[in-house]
Subunit: 586 residues, 2 copies
């Protein structure tokens, strides 16, 4: 009910995080049947129940309902995150400053009862660890303390009033790059951001090589786990130092990663993810402490692990779909996270389909001769205008290689210029001289393979130390884009719509964000649509993790997405190969 | 509802442990109002609900109800524990052998879903640790596995069928002695028992000296915790070795201890327990793993910690009250656990009062000149018949000292023989010679103090190395019994009944069990009642812990006792001192 309301932009009062205890989310059902819950009997008189009053948080709408929502008592704060999403600030992390009565022989309530009874709108649970700090904290603070509650768990009791310090960290745990954002949960604003390469890199660039490592070496799982934890730890230290925040004031983290990264960092054997029939240990991950991720923040801080739909549609995609509103936008939208494994979600806010396409390493540049990561000096823009070539490099540094977006751009430009056949073969020298006389001399033979030189090395005319695109590189890209296009084409077919019906394509992930929409359309990586409909969504996985920290409702939305999205497995589709071959041409 | 039914000796079907998920505990309410719960809507049709059908486990009776209980589908096993209590075997620990379908591309359910969906009568939760073992266990067992569930938590998945191995350990963590009982949860029978002294002894004999230690030395809490854990660990090893049981097949433990022992073993600062106003950290203890108690059994085995009513009416007493049926026996009964701190519970099954009386160290023998623990050679029986003295020692060994029960016996015998005035003073030599000529020469001066020699040493007539009872020893016992008698006298007053109304006195604890009922009555330690009404209850704390392992219903009963028993604080009673002085006389 909360979710439904918030999706419709209606704010309902609540302070307990939807547990039916604060009794602030009173709504009146005016049409439609909603059996009263056990908690409704506590919150309302029988007359009120008969009039349709219910706690909104307990309603699981099964049929269409009309509901009166009383005006808000408290004015909610909101933050803008994700793809232009307004999120009402309701973090799971809450702090309450309490001035308690001191115990006496006539008031021998236990320490924990004294605290819990002072928090009247949340039914608080307390574990052993917090029980250990309570007796001293109460007496050090002369019974004036701040309770730190996450969701329903009391994780700390601190002497005095510490309500001004309340932080969380959102992690995007990528196979290649890991990003951390420190959030001030009092205001919803980012305090600092840091990123670095995943320290698991020595075990291979993609998830399959890392899974293989665990299959061959029984110690590899533990080592990969430690490396992921080290990465997260260093980033934590960095964002806290930069933000001037004591790590012990970070009370919750959220982590979005693909299924392999997630299982590895949690120490769960990823082997079944790597071999058919591709089985995950779990969709949703159990309650985990941040300390399980190796993080030295508040010792009882929980870690929210974004749930995974399938072995190759992981928590990063659920997180991204959440951040880009795939579950509520009424337009037919296609979400494409381009990478070694390409995840695709298609939906219209009512129905959602997802799949994963094995694009191979073309975009990660490992298999491209002059490929490199998107770093300074990488050619990311390739344009051929009026027969002349223009390159753009990252940070405008001297060119040292080609990154994934440069590869797509280059192929698109070469096809447009007539230097690359739609079959993916470089044209003959003769044709080249005809269609692009100013560029024909860049089409040369190098190590018995035809290449197109983007930037000459020391000697113009000698491709030895040049930056070039080889025939084989083009083939790699062709295979990748064919796999991706087959993926979304099959989803469109399953959905019963045509390419042209798609109203928006969201290009997600660090690679997708840099991709030129025009080039992506040109080579057939995305449906043939007006360029305006192709949008870079940015690092939506990280945005979803932020949303999970800022709002428990949005966090539940991630779980709801799991139920709503239907996974379409491609690997056993008989028509996959036919479609794949159709899609190979540019 | 379950509790009410089981207290009335009615067995209701259930396999989920009262969580509303197995839907076996169907009952029909024939009179009285019970609003349907959310789970009733899942379990019954609207017609059935209208006819009064409800899940018994979800009913919290507020008014008198008449209920039809269908005959049992499964015949429950039962075990006899506690004070003649029949307990229906429903351990929280359950094992389920599962033959699962192997995954395929058309059945990509996650590993955990595959297991959970095969357990259709319990809503199982799984934590990270078990998620780590699942992928391998499933594949090693070729998808034929045994799920180990405790309460609602899946704690293990084991290849093959291991249902025949299911054990638990009940601990009675006494300040002095610690007892462990290994139980076979498949049959409810004890496999082996072991006991040893609490390794915390070097920190003092009683709880106050151990609390003081933590106040003076910041490291003492951790050391005391470790010593308690070491004690429990050694006993665990001992019962497992003796029982031929692999410790990893022990899936749950239950622990009964006083509030100080409990807080110490959990690492919770006990200081507020030791100083007025005597505040506990918590009545009920959070979910804790046995590993938190330092036990190397199944790594995820939970530990059930018996809840405490007050700083001096701890989990041992709640456990004992449970085992002796204080909450259901309709007779007016007085439960007395005799010790340094004496806990007293008075109740008639409807109303329950409890208090703690500071008896001092008389019974622990530390402050008695010839005092010793109840070990071989301790005088435990003292009789004066026809003017001649008879002694009984433990194990019939040569006498080496007096234990607590011997002390009570001796004083009672000396009062009866006229050698001790009711004021507690030894009679003059002259009177002694008159009333007990055969014993008068045993009343001698030793170190300027009058003593009564129970057993001469090397030389008859020389008390130097004799075993004796001193005037000061008698005073110690007087103080102790006056404190205890004041405790129950105030409870009787509070309850509005007279001494003679008490229908049964239960003497609990290792000391109480050895006490001669006649002597206890004689010296006024218990109400003046026919000796038949004074019953040794034995080690009821340990029995309660066993019951908690054997039956989740009984375990919940311990929590219910907390709500039912009203604690009466003696230390701020204005009439305590007057009553105490009245009770000093024998």
């Amino acid at each position: 009910m909360f979710d439904a309301a918030s999706w419709n932009g209606i704010a309902i009062d609540s302070t307990c995080g939807g547990h039916g205890t604060c009794k602030k989310c009173r709504v009146r059902v005016t049409s439609g049947e909603v059996p009263p819950s056990r908690l409704d009997f506590r919150a309302f008189t029988p007359d009120e129940i008969a009039e349709g009053w219910r706690l909104a948080c307990m309603i699981k709408p099964q049929v269409d309902l009309s509901v009166d929502v009383p005006p808000l008592v408290t004015r909610p704060k909101a933050a803008t995150v994700g793809v232009g999403r307004q999120v009402i600030l309701r973090p799971a992390v809450q702090k309450r400053y309490l001035e308690l009565e001191e115990p006496s022989l006539s008031d021998q309530r236990t320490d924990i009862d004294r605290i819990i009874q002072a928090i009247d709108d949340i039914e608080v649970d307390a574990g052993l660890e917090v029980l250990r700090v309570i007796p001293r904290a109460l007496r050090e603070g002369f019974f004036k303390v701040t309770a730190v509650i996450v969701d329903r768990e009391l994780i700390d009791v601190q002497p005095g009033d510490t309500t001004d310090k309340r932080y969380g960290i959102a992690f995007d745990l990528g196979t290649t790059t890991v990003v951390a954002t420190l959030l001030d949960l009092n205001t919803g604003t980012p305090v600092s951001v840091a990123s670095m390469l995943n320290k698991q890199q020595p075990f291979g660039a993609d998830v399959i090589s890392r899974i293989s490592a665990t299959m061959m070496d029984p110690d590899a799982l533990q080592r990969l786990r430690t490396l992921a934890q080290d990465t997260l730890s260093e980033l934590t230290l960095e964002v806290c130092t930069e933000g001037g925040v004591d790590p012990r004031d970070v009370y919750e983290v959220a982590l979005a990663g693909n299924a392999t990264m997630t299982q590895l960092v949690l120490g769960i054997d990823p082997e079944p993810l790597g071999v058919a029939p591709f089985i995950m240990a779990s969709h949703e991950y159990p309650d985990v402490r941040a300390s399980e991720l190796g993080l030295a923040i508040h010792p009882l801080a929980p870690a929210v692990i974004m749930p995974s739909l399938g072995a190759y549609v992981g928590g990063d995609i659920i997180s991204g779909a959440l951040a880009s509103g795939m579950d509520r936008d009424k337009r037919l939208r296609l979400f494409v996270d381009v990478g070694t494994n390409c995840e695709i979600v298609l939906g219209d806010g009512e129905r959602l389909l997802a799949t994963a396409a094995p694009a191979g390493p073309a975009f990660e540049a490992a298999s491209i001769k002059c490929g490199m990561r998107a770093a300074a000096g990488a050619i990311e823009i390739v344009k051929i205008t009026n027969g002349s070539l223009t390159l753009g490099t990252i940070e405008d540094a001297p060119a040292v290689g080609i990154c994934g977006s440069g590869l797509v751009d280059a192929c698109a430009a070469l096809v447009s210029a007539g230097l690359l056949e739609s079959s993916g073969r470089f044209v003959s020298d003769q044709v080249a001289a005809e269609v692009a006389p100013g560029l024909a001399d860049r089409l040369v033979l190098r190590d018995k393979e035809r290449v197109f030189v983007l930037e000459w090395g020391d000697t113009v005319g000698d491709p030895t130390d040049a930056i070039f695109l080889s025939q084989r590189d083009v083939r790699e890209l062709q295979f990748a884009k064919a796999a991706i296009a087959t993926g979304w084409a099959l989803l469109l077919e399953e959905f019963g719509v045509a390419e042209g019906d798609v109203q928006q394509v969201l290009l997600a992930g660090s690679f997708g964000s840099y991709l030129s929409p025009a080039s992506a359309v040109k080579i057939g990586l995305v449906p043939k649509l007006p360029v305006m409909r192709i949008v870079s969504a940015g690092n939506v996985a990280g945005e979803g993790a932020k949303m999970a920290l800022l709002s428990v409702q949005e966090r539940h939305g991630a779980g709801a997405l799991l139920d709503e999205i239907r996974y379409v497995e491609l690997s056993d589709r008989e028509d996959f190969n036919d479609k794949f071959i159709e899609r190979l041409a540019f």
